[in-house]
Subunit: 290 residues, 3 copies
């Protein structure tokens, strides 16, 4: 009827010749299909995991809500704590240590164990320290475009000098030692895949970020001796850090983890977790499962 | 009926477990769907932009025609000028400056303003200079696998020494100071995703490229002081430049832009803009919108 | 009926706005579709190729069976030899040279010519040497996440020092100079995209790998003088080597090939060739065709 090839092209991520050619092929036989055993693992064989999802800077627990909803729907147990100085907490005068204390207390007071402790962005530095405190409660650490600091480094150390200078200037110009992201920076580097309307909507939910934790150099010797399994989930359009060997979430931060499981998907820093929560949830599961 | 999993696998870019698992999930509820606000932005909310699309070397305006058609169809206004020494212009004796003059004149004589000035490949060096001349007419610069030169550099400076030596030799062997791409180089590095037939068809439309502009070192001090918003659209299978930190369109050239919006899609240098024009057009829109 | 956008989202690799917007667009007209000439090349225009597929370490010919089945189905002729010291061969005392001898003999004794000689992983070092011996029988070399050694290097030289130390320790601890992959390393770095069940299934099919060939430094001067066409097929989630400029399959090993055709697809080292054999087969075809 409509023999031109775009007929099917709508449904894939890119033009894919298989779409057009494989209707011409005989279907797979059962022995072949049986070889593809991962695919035939049914829904009921999925593991049920306990996730603790740690948000990043300029964000709070609501960052994770769409993803948490998807994870709960597939049977996982999900916790999304607000870090001190974020969400409903009006006190922006928080240290990195107090944030680590708070998350540790959150987990221990609930007697959580065997947890997949996953973090986004700044949250990576928090779970590095929490992992030092309560390694026995962790099944695995998952870093989703999250900072992984080298021993003795701060988050601020990870940025190129020009970006660092901007952050220092923004910090100086605040009255309460916070950093407010300028909208153009947010729109271009944090929400590059969003429409303007969505970028504005996401921006309205940001709040001034306490500056001190990002400039705190962390002793991470114990972290680098831990045997906890680790995964890095990398959304490939994230441009918060330059995608170079010197500065990137991946491959720089990911490889600091040593042996780790690498998972990727398309996406940016702040948009995709909202607009594609179902897929991010699946990738978090791939990162977090045994 | 046909329980084997490949039943749906035809339609996606890769095997994707969501395809098989999510039929088992309840559909999203409306509140969740409403959260995904970017998706519910309807067709009628798209911005209408004015694009000026600048072609690269060994090409002319026809490079952009499939993409321009898609953009016009979504309501955008699109201009696709031929640069001097290209297309129907038989005179190959052109300088980089004359090309810049011509494009500037093209824009100013039509009184175009608020334009998204987008370039492919060599065209990137042209819009860097045009932006210095008429910054007030620009809404945004978009570089699509385009060269972004550092101050004082030439396009030829961007290539590894072996490739540069080849280009110099091709230049020497021409009678009119042009460079003719050998087919094997075009087929492997410029049209790697094409069938042989399509690569040959695309190759037949190439013409000898004036050599001087590619060897002209450009003063770009003013470019690097401009506040014009910038985007980099990166097709990820482009192998014209090695995909290393030292030589690549991305991350090397993209990061020269300073603050910029990064957009990616699968694709190579010359094939994908032809075979997947609809998707490239959408990504250009994502790169060009406010 | 169901106006919320996830209705179609199941079928693509990522959320893709085109899926939602383009139903609103008029379909392509025939002249436009005709421009997209690669798409209209029908099934009957595919080339019929002769593939010789060379497996890697801890594997044997069965690694290629799902892919070979797909290739044969599209009309290609496919050979999947077992290398000495692998598969049914109980003798693990093999040198790199003997492996090269064996593969050369396999090809010459069958009078194969005009072949696409493709290799995975360690197999890359084997086809580098075989290509030196029988260049006249080769249409093209294809490296699929395969090692490409520099002249005078060994496979072991390609690993970061920490991984190298582990391999040396595993070698020391064996009684027959083999290396047995620890499951955690296999699961995280070789089968990162698999479920645990599939990773275990794939792991059960691995066998101790003769160590000597991986530590043999190869004279590759002739290889680097060959004019044989070359392709690199890169599965982008492969984490066997760090994805940095210093250590990676791509861009490091790929660019050692000089002029080459780059093809990419999502996938890891050992899972995807099993679970997504149809797509890998197509990409091998894209890599191997003229």
């Amino acid at each position: 009827m409509h023999p031109y090839p775009y007929r099917y092209a709508n449904v894939g991520y890119m033009y894919d010749p298989l779409v057009y050619r494989y209707p011409l092929l005989p279907p797979m036989t059962w022995p072949e299909a049986a070889q593809v055993s991962d695919m035939s693992v049914g829904y009921e064989h999925l593991q049920r995991l306990t996730f603790v999802l740690v948000h990043g800077s300029w964000a709070d627990a609501s960052f994770w809500h769409p993803i948490a909803g998807q994870l709960r729907r597939t049977g996982h147990t999900v916790y999304t704590p607000d870090l001190p100085g974020h969400g409903s907490d009006p006190n922006k005068n928080v240290s990195h240590e107090r944030i680590v204390d708070s998350l540790t207390e959150y987990i221990t007071s609930r007697h959580l164990k065997d947890i997949v402790l996953a973090a986004h962005s700044f949250g990576g530095t928090v779970i590095q320290k929490v992992a030092e405190r309560i390694p026995d409660r962790l099944k695995r650490l998952v870093f989703m475009n999250a900072f992984v600091l080298g021993d003795g480094q701060s988050l601020a150390d990870q940025f190129p000098s020009q970006a660092l200078a901007l952050f220092e200037q923004l910090r100086q110009s605040s009255k309460d030692d916070t950093i407010t992201l300028p909208f153009p920076l947010f729109r271009e580097n944090f929400a590059n895949l969003a429409s303007l309307q969505l970028a504005e909507q996401l921006y309205r939910s940001t709040t001034p970020e306490p500056a001190a934790p990002a400039f705190t150099k962390l002793d991470l010797k114990k972290f680098y001796s831990l045997q906890t399994p680790k995964s890095y989930l990398y959304l490939t359009e994230d441009n918060v850090l330059p995608q170079t060997d010197q500065h990137s979430f991946h491959p720089l931060m990911s490889n600091r983890l040593g042996l780790h499981r690498l998972i990727k998907m398309p996406g940016d820093h702040m948009t995709t977790p909202n607009t594609d929560a179902r897929r991010v949830a699946w990738k978090l599961y791939e990162a977090g499962r045994d």
